[in-house]
């Protein structure tokens, strides 16, 4: 052990003697480790962001819709669309579900005083706002009464408001949606980009009854029934219950498959978690390549160093160093170099994350495990790529090494 410390000192002296070269050697490792930390952290940051968006959809969310299948590259509906009968069945019988809203999506032309636009119009009930926990910037949501009477009112998002009204206050003003006048009663609070990158503020919300009955003639079914479980702990109960009620409503016999699907928020989080997780691994793997390149750099310099110091090695062997002493010395040199590179890389990585945060406002949490991976990998690279040159040094014949010119 004492011998190890002495050897450690010797290795350290050697590094110190070649300071600039040592620094250049570790540069590869520094960049590699920083790259690993930054890419993994960026992946984590993206995951976090997506998860935040999903939970922003409203906690306890359930979505019930007709089963679709991929056929010849297109989504094909496999059952009859979810409809009022299903909606009433859920509304009257479900105990684990507290709020329900149909969702009908249509595309229409909206014309305002200062502009017009083709836009997605969402037909929903008054409970939709609670289900998705969306807030208003000004005005109010439409009420149950306006849903039952198919009132020509709507709530719009900020992006659309800007296009149709510019700086005008939209509340109380009229817009024409496919030639039918609607009164704007509410302006949604800005939400930004959604989990899938869509603009959540480029939207019109109107009573679904209005869309069904006034906009495009008569539409029977709904695209989705949105529901909210009574609380987060009972999402699964709500899902099971909704499944049973939907089967009853669709008269599906025991043993037959469902012709609808239910997606909960938990599942959404899992799916996106998987996607971003794969992304993180992929990015990390790419970054690791730079670490390996850095390791080869260390091996390269160590090999040069062994050749350059052949005489020194011969002298050390002649005055009583064992092969193992030489091996340890060069191995320690390589490991110290790569660990130093690891430390500097960690610092650079964290600093890089901060800089990105400052510049883009995209918060990147520096994942602890990314530091461990980066650092551990650096140490591994040091051992793996340091061993070969170290062994070469240790196996030198002292007689030849002493006379090496």
């Amino acid at each position: 052990m004492q011998q190890f410390f002495k050897t450690f000192k010797v290795a350290f002296q050697a590094i110190n003697k070649n300071r600039s070269r040592s620094l250049l050697t570790v540069l590869g490792i520094i960049i590699g480790v920083a790259a690993v930390i930054m890419t993994i952290s960026a992946g984590e940051g993206a995951t976090l962001e997506v998860q935040k968006q999903i939970s922003g959809l409203g906690t306890n969310l359930l979505m019930i819709y007709t089963k679709t299948e991929h056929r010849a590259g297109a989504h094909v509906r496999m059952g009859k669309p979810v409809n009022k009968k299903d909606f009433d069945m859920l509304q009257h019988n479900a105990v684990w579900i507290s709020k329900l809203s149909p969702l009908i999506v249509d595309v229409a032309q909206a014309i305002g005083p200062n502009g017009y636009k083709s836009i997605a119009i969402y037909g929903v009930s008054d409970q939709y706002f609670d289900i998705l926990s969306r807030d208003l910037a000004s005005g109010e949501f439409f009420k149950e009464e306006e849903v039952t009477t198919a009132g020509k009112v709507c709530v719009i998002g900020k992006t659309l408001k800007d296009e149709l009204f510019s700086d005008l206050d939209p509340i109380g003003r009229q817009i024409r949606i496919d030639k039918i006048p609607f009164t704007v009663i509410g302006l949604l609070k800005e939400e930004g980009k959604g989990a899938m990158g869509q603009d959540q503020d480029d939207i019109i919300l109107a009573p679904y009854t209005t869309i069904q009955n006034r906009l495009h003639g008569h539409r029977r079914g709904y695209d989705i029934i949105m529901a909210s479980a009574i609380n987060e702990d009972h999402i699964i109960d709500a899902e099971i219950e909704a499944t049973e009620l939907m089967r009853e409503s669709h008269k599906i016999l025991e043993g037959e498959e469902d012709d609808f699907e239910i997606t909960t928020q938990i599942e959404l989080q899992e799916i996106t978690g998987n996607v971003t997780g794969i992304l993180t691994i992929l990015l990390g793997a790419i970054a690791s390549i730079s670490l390996i390149v850095g390791g080869i750099g260390i091996m390269n310099i160590m090999l040069v160093s062994v050749t350059e110091r052949t005489r020194e090695i011969g002298t050390r062997l002649a005055i009583g160093a064992r092969e193992s002493d030489i091996l340890t010395q060069f191995l320690i040199e390589a490991i110290v170099l790569s660990l130093a590179g690891g430390v500097l890389g960690v610092v650079l990585g964290i600093a890089g994350n901060q800089i990105i945060y400052k510049l883009t406002n995209f918060f990147i949490p520096t994942a602890l495990y990314s530091i461990l991976i980066g650092f551990g990998f650096a140490a591994l690279v040091g051992i793996a790529f340091g061993y070969f040159p170290a062994r070469k040094a240790a196996k030198l014949n002292p007689i030849d090494a002493l006379r090496y010119e």
Partner: protein, 247 residues
């Protein structure tokens, strides 16, 4: 009373195989050197000087014959034991000094102690200082090797060979890279160390330097040609006088 034998070789031979051809570098060399001796080994290139030095220095093993160093039968030792013998019994001095570059004199001198596993030397710094003082470099202790002259560098190397208090100091053409005047200084230093009781074996092809030794062995074609005591040993004064005459 017979003095302790530091070196004893019995029918030492070293054969190098080059394909099917066997080259005899040494054949039946019998040398015996006692404690306190100062021996010069001379011989033309190819006479086996270097091979002999490698074996005596425990860097190489004989093909046949026996070698005893300070009573240890070296033939039977493994690599690590040989390293330990080199570390504890031998002080090496090389033609091109072989010091660590950009390293202070004292760190260079401490080097053999780093590899000593006996725990005998508890204060390497003090020992290194003492050795540097012995070679007259007390004022240069913290100078880096590249800041020293050739003669000074060789003195550092000699201090390094002294620091572990070896049974034998082996010098391989120690004056080969030095000018005549400095060579005489180094040879004189050997005499001084020998007078302090060190056993010294030096290989040289410089006749005037060999004359500083007490005994001279000539090798030819891998065998001992002559082995005799020197009657008129050179001293620093006589050598300098001679140097003045020839230039």
């Amino acid at each position: 009373m017979t003095a302790k034998k530091v070196i004893e070789t019995k029918n030492l031979s070293r054969v190098f195989k080059n394909g099917d051809i066997e080259v005899y570098a040494l054949t039946n060399v019998n040398i015996s050197i006692e404690e306190g001796e100062f021996v010069a080994i001379m011989g033309a290139s190819g006479s086996g000087k270097s091979t002999l030095l490698n074996i005596l220095g425990c860097l190489d093993k004989p093909t046949s014959g026996d070698y005893y160093l300070d009573g240890i039968h070296v033939n039977k030792l493994n690599k690590n034991e040989l390293a330990a013998v080199r570390n504890q019994k031998i002080g090496f001095i090389f033609q091109s000094y072989n010091l660590l570059s950009r390293t202070s004199a004292i760190e260079n001198v401490e080097l053999p102690l780093i590899y000593n596993r006996t725990g005998k030397f508890t204060n390497p710094k003090k020992l290194a200082e003492k050795a540097l003082e012995q070679v007259g470099l007390k004022s240069r202790i913290y100078h880096k090797t590249n800041e020293l002259s050739g003669g000074e560098q060789q003195r550092v190397a000699i201090a390094r060979a002294l620091v572990n208090d070896p049974a034998l100091i082996l010098s391989d053409e120690a004056t080969g890279n030095l000018d005549s005047k400095t060579s005489i200084d180094v040879a004189d230093l050997f005499v001084k160390l020998n007078n302090e009781g060190k056993t010294i074996l030096m290989i040289t092809h410089e006749h005037d330097i060999a004359q500083f030794a007490k005994r001279i062995i000539y090798l030819r074609d891998g065998s001992v040609l002559t082995d005799e005591l020197i009657k008129n040993r050179s001293t620093k004064e006589s050598a300098l006088k001679e140097l003045a005459l020839t230039t």
